[in-house]
């Protein structure tokens, strides 16, 4: 609860800080899976130390867009990406770009917590180890677990298996694992949809805490979660050709109180279908 009470101050500080530069941008981003166009002409920017939520009905392409942001779609053989994804003004789909390096800088947390079947310590240390981290591993593990708001709960059982933790703890372990390799963007694909309400709120508080150091992009089906936790919201919909596209993008407080596009209004007020 103490964590939650910190939140208003944190939020105020975040809102008062001017919006910095876009750390990532999609430019005319389209994605095909074979002959099927999944996403059409998305133009969207993510701002430094801010949380951007991607919302929209199933099949609108929001997760596909998210996966494009760190070339996760490369792992799907039939996926074809066109347009650009700029990260610090470099196109991550450009020549001579190493996708592994892209994924180191742009981390990802998935819907279902997926810790390795290893100890809590190794879950956090593993990525840093294979990336050739040279500092004190104990310090890195402690720092990452602290940042993920998990340290106090696991400091006495670091040798226990990551799988012995509760669902909410496992998800925070996955976040600790993601930040241990020191990315600057964290992509989250419905990080709380498999969790109970309290664990969900913990993850949301944690996201606020993480914005001090990271930029977060989150895909969520939970509109209240988007409204509570994000600074910017992008609403995607499905076109008649079944391709997903961006309908509206703006500050969360505007999108949820006075959206500009009637399609957004219909979706967030539940007047769809």
């Amino acid at each position: 609860m103490a964590q939650r009470s910190l939140r208003p101050e944190m939020r105020r500080a975040a809102k008062e800080a001017p919006v910095g530069d876009a750390i990532m941008s999609a430019r005319d981003l389209s994605v095909h899976y074979g002959a099927f166009q999944a996403v059409r002409d998305v133009n969207l920017s993510f701002y430094e130390n801010r949380i951007t939520a991607l919302i929209g009905p199933s099949g609108c392409g929001k997760s596909t867009v998210l996966r494009c942001m760190n070339r996760m779609n490369d792992l799907i053989p039939i996926a074809r990406v066109s347009g650009e994804v700029l990260y610090h003004n470099h196109n991550i789909y450009g020549p001579n770009i190493d996708p592994v390096e892209v994924r180191r800088r742009i981390g990802m947390v998935f819907q279902k917590p997926n810790p390795f079947p290893k100890s809590i310590y190794d879950n956090v240390a593993w990525g840093a180890k294979i990336n050739g981290y040279r500092g004190s591993m104990d310090d890195l593990v402690e720092r990452s677990l602290t940042q993920a708001a998990l340290w106090n709960e696991v400091k006495d059982k670091l040798k226990d298996s990551g799988l012995s933790l509760s669902g909410g703890q496992q998800q925070r372990l996955c976040i600790a694992r993601a930040i241990a390799i020191q990315p600057d963007v964290i992509l989250m694909d419905e990080p709380a949809s498999a969790l109970d309400p309290i664990s969900t709120l913990k993850i949301e508080d944690l996201m606020q805490e993480l914005t001090r150091n990271y930029t977060i992009v989150i895909v969520t089906h939970n509109m209240q979660q988007a409204a509570r936790s994000s600074d910017f919201t992008a609403y995607f919909s499905v076109g008649e050709d079944r391709a997903g596209y961006l309908v509206e993008y703006g500050p969360t407080h505007e999108v949820f109180t006075n959206p500009k596009d009637p399609k957004t209004e219909d979706y967030i007020t539940g007047r769809v279908g």
Binding site: T257, I268, R271
Partner: protein, 217 residues
């Protein structure tokens, strides 16, 4: 269409608000009638009726809170519910002014009126008309009409000025009229405030429809 239950609850809330509106309109009409005809019994009724108006207002507030808590309304729905809550508060205050007029009536009922009342009933009539029109504009979600109604507040303000000058003339020419004239001035003030509250309702309508806050007073 999704959200059938929610839409139905919103509809019910709107009807509760309209019902509160008619109760208030009736209270204003009766209060000025009690004053005009020096009717003690009618004035008493207005004072006692205020309890029902307060209860209706709390009912609307409770239903709105319940809708917010259970239905998580957003965007236009959210603005609409907040507007209804604020309008219910405005209406309840308007009823307090009517009750105030009834109480003033009881204080001056022992003496004959200074003069037959003309402008005060006119102020009340315009106020009531504007109130019903403002509620109608809200139901229709018509922002432009709300703006037009708010502008008509000037008519009530002008009458207020007129009543003020007239009563001042009475007081200057014969200081024995001061207590009675002062009470009538308070009545005029209450009626002027009632019309101001109508303007607030119009502001809420514009907010509910467009999401913009426009000062109209």
């Amino acid at each position: 269409m999704t959200r059938t239950v929610f839409t139905q609850s919103m509809q019910e809330m709107q009807e509760e608000m309209l019902s509160l509106g008619s109760m208030v309109e009736k209270a204003v009409a009766r209060s000025i009638e009690a004053l005009r005809t020096q009717n003690v019994e009618l004035a008493q009724q207005v004072i006692e009726y205020d309890e029902h108006i307060n209860a209706q207002r709390w009912k609307i507030e409770e239903n709105s809170t319940l809708l917010i808590a259970t239905q998580a309304p957003l965007a236009r729905d959210l603005r609409y519910i907040f507007a209804v809550m604020h309008i219910a508060t405005e209406l309840e205050r308007m009823a307090d002014y009517a009750q105030g007029i009834a109480k003033l009536t009881l204080r001056i009922v022992d003496e004959p009126l200074l003069k037959p009342l003309v402008d005060l009933p006119r102020m009340a009539d315009i106020g009531r008309e504007l109130l019903m029109e403002a509620l109608d504009a809200f139901i229709e979600q018509d922002a432009e009409r709300a703006r037009q109604i708010a502008r008509r507040d000037d008519e009530v303000d002008q009458l207020y000025e007129q009543v003020y000058r007239e009563l001042l003339t009475f007081m200057i020419s014969d200081q024995r009229t001061v207590p009675r004239a002062t009470h009538l001035l308070w009545v005029a003030h209450n009626l002027e405030r009632i019309a101001d509250r109508v303007t607030n309702i119009c502001e809420r309508t514009v907010f509910a429809v467009l999401g913009d806050i426009e000062e109209m007073g």
